[in-house]
């Protein structure tokens, strides 16, 4: 096979929320840009409904990527053009004010997250990606029931704001929208950058950034070499960015450290009315509990996953399975305090992460709150999914006992998404792997533009914040490039 060789002003590794946004901004500014993506470009009509096929095509390691701990925690990431935006539910939240203030005060990132400027960027992205509240006509019962439960308990819920255009409520966000309605990066900013002259190479896993006299000049992998005249932008995701940097000779005490995430717990409930989870926005309703450090979301799963979550085996399980249309599933994303570390071991990521006891108490509170909302919405029975506790609860009073249950890590099925912090940005050189312009310290022409640069987790879905922060940094980079030319 001939070796692929190419050259551009900027070479961007990864096409998720960070990489695609950087490409969109730089290409629009007139720079020549090449995007390099490990996964494949999938057309909406090629996204299969069957879970196994869908995961093989677009989910990293088929969701077998996990933390290396006594109780492993799966880490969900996309691996296709669009990165995780090609498998998420398109939930959009702006960077919370308290997080912005914290980043400004503790990490000196005032210019990067300047309130006036970043609000303009948020608005522009919201216009371009058609962000709006989920329409009532496509909520479906899984979402509506959560709204009814929240209303009954007086909790502050709302229809989720998503980046979608013409969503028909296929509930197939994880497998990939067959209509192309979700404005994920593969549908929006990657094609937009290509229209502006950017090039895309897929199926290319970057193994190394080539450094010459302290400057990033190219990226290489099996069968390809792509030269960068002005710079290399790493947007390979929070797990792989630090591994790629470390393997390319970047050294900093915090590289791979400060790893944070929002692990989630889920709960299934049975209702005596049709829910038909297969219709509706996969995630169309949420109950933010920011002060408590978590957010509840309705979450439609593919039928294979929902079936596996129903308790038991044999006749009892079959009976439940034959009535799969009566179940709702919701989850809670937890803003955990724990910090982990990602290291490069034999060229691959080694993820160490252990929730703190306080985090586990929060997981228990999420389970109890989900249960209360489900009963308030009319659930006949719920499956809390907490080991060592009742497999099935039919009496809401049992939630009081769950609230008192001592907790250990092995009690919960946690799945982590929303990853942060392994190449932290800070004005303080001893803290920040990258400086406030997102340039890697100690290397010229090398930048990180994904959630690795976030100094803390957010407590909300990060896609919008990643895009806005990267937009800001990419605009500054384009200006510097123009001035230098």
């Amino acid at each position: 096979m001939p070796r692929l060789e190419d050259e551009a002003d900027f070479v961007i590794v990864g096409t998720g929320a960070g990489g695609a946004t950087a490409a969109r901004v730089l290409a629009a500014a007139g720079a020549s840009v090449i995007m390099v993506e490990e996964g494949q470009r999938l057309r909406p009509e090629d996204r299969p409904a069957a879970l196994l096929d869908a995961m093989r095509l677009a989910v990293r390691d088929m969701c077998m990527q996990a933390t290396e701990s006594r109780v492993p925690m799966p880490i969900l990431q996309g691996r296709a053009v669009g990165g995780s935006t090609a498998i998420n539910s398109g939930i959009i939240w702006r960077l919370p004010d308290d997080v912005r203030d914290d980043w400004r005060e503790r990490f000196g990132l005032g210019e990067l997250v300047d309130e006036r400027r970043i609000d303009e960027v948020f608005r522009q992205i919201e216009d371009e990606l058609e962000i709006h509240a989920t329409e009532p006509s496509i909520l479906g019962r899984n979402n509506e029931l959560m709204a009814e439960g929240a209303a009954a308990l007086g909790l502050p819920g709302r229809a989720i704001h998503r980046n979608s255009r013409g969503c028909k409520g296929n509930a197939r966000c994880l497998q990939g929208c067959p209509e192309g309605a979700r404005q994920s990066m593969d549908i929006s900013y990657v094609p937009r950058a290509i229209e502006d002259g950017a090039r895309l190479h897929t199926g290319c896993r970057v193994d190394k950034i080539v450094m010459k006299r302290g400057r990033a000049v190219a990226v290489e992998g099996r069968g390809f070499s792509i030269r960068a005249r002005r710079g290399v932008i790493v947007a390979a995701g929070v797990v792989h960015t630090p591994v790629l940097l470390a393997g390319s000779g970047v050294r900093h005490a915090n590289l791979g450290r400060r790893f944070q995430c929002h692990p989630g717990v889920a709960m299934v409930g049975r209702f005596d009315q049709p829910v038909h989870m297969g219709f509706g926005a996969a995630q169309g309703y949420e109950i933010p509990q920011r002060a408590k450090g978590f957010k509840l979301e309705a979450l439609a799963l593919p039928p294979e996953m929902l079936a596996a979550r129903l308790p038991g085996a044999g006749v009892e399980w079959q009976r439940r399975l034959a009535d799969l249309g009566s179940y709702a599933q919701w989850c809670g994303q937890i803003r955990m305090k724990a910090h982990g570390r990602i290291r490069r071991v034999f060229g691959r990521p080694w993820i160490a992460y252990e929730p703190t006891h306080e985090d586990l108490l929060k997981a228990r509170e999420v389970a109890v709150t989900l249960g209360r909302v489900m009963f308030a919405a009319g659930a006949k029975e719920i499956f809390p999914g907490v080991a060592g506790f009742d497999e099935v609860i039919t009496d809401p009073a049992r939630l009081d006992a769950l609230e008192q249950k001592p907790v250990s890590r092995a009690d919960f099925h946690l799945v982590a998404s929303h990853l942060f912090g392994t190449a932290c940005a800070s004005a303080d050189p001893s803290v920040g792997v990258v400086d406030p312009s997102l340039a890697v310290r100690g290397a010229d022409g090398l930048y990180v533009m994904d959630a690795s640069v976030f100094p803390t987790n957010l407590g909300v879905n990060p896609q919008h914040s990643i895009m806005a922060v990267v937009w800001q940094a990419a605009e500054q980079l384009a200006e510097r490039a123009r001035a230098a030319a």
């Binding site: 390691d61 044999g314 034959a322 799969l324």
Partner: protein
Amino acid sequence: MSGFVVSEGSEPMLQPGAIDWHRGTREFLEMASAKGRLGVRVGLLLAMTAPLWMWGKLRTAAGLGEAERARLLAAMLEHRVFFVRELTLLLKLVACMAMLRPAAVRAQTGYDRPAPRRERLLLPVVREVA
């Protein structure tokens, strides 16, 4: 895999023989990552030998009756050791993938909303006016 479902008292769609468990497992093993393949193989080994290490019976799961095999898997899903629970759950997920792959089976579960019935559209008849 077939241990998760039993014929007695089951719904017709889940009768043994309706699902090709071998094909389902093989497909998963072909597509899964190395870690996934290892997980399924260790899970199968645990399940096959579970009558011995869980109940002290000198036989494999294959030697159990249908109902007893389902009872064994249900006990493994609630086992106090996390890895036993998780690997059994992985087997259950593989079984679900095999079971719900045929569109006809999925349609019978009620997961999807039934397509709205289309009212027959009756167009007005144009008659020649004398």
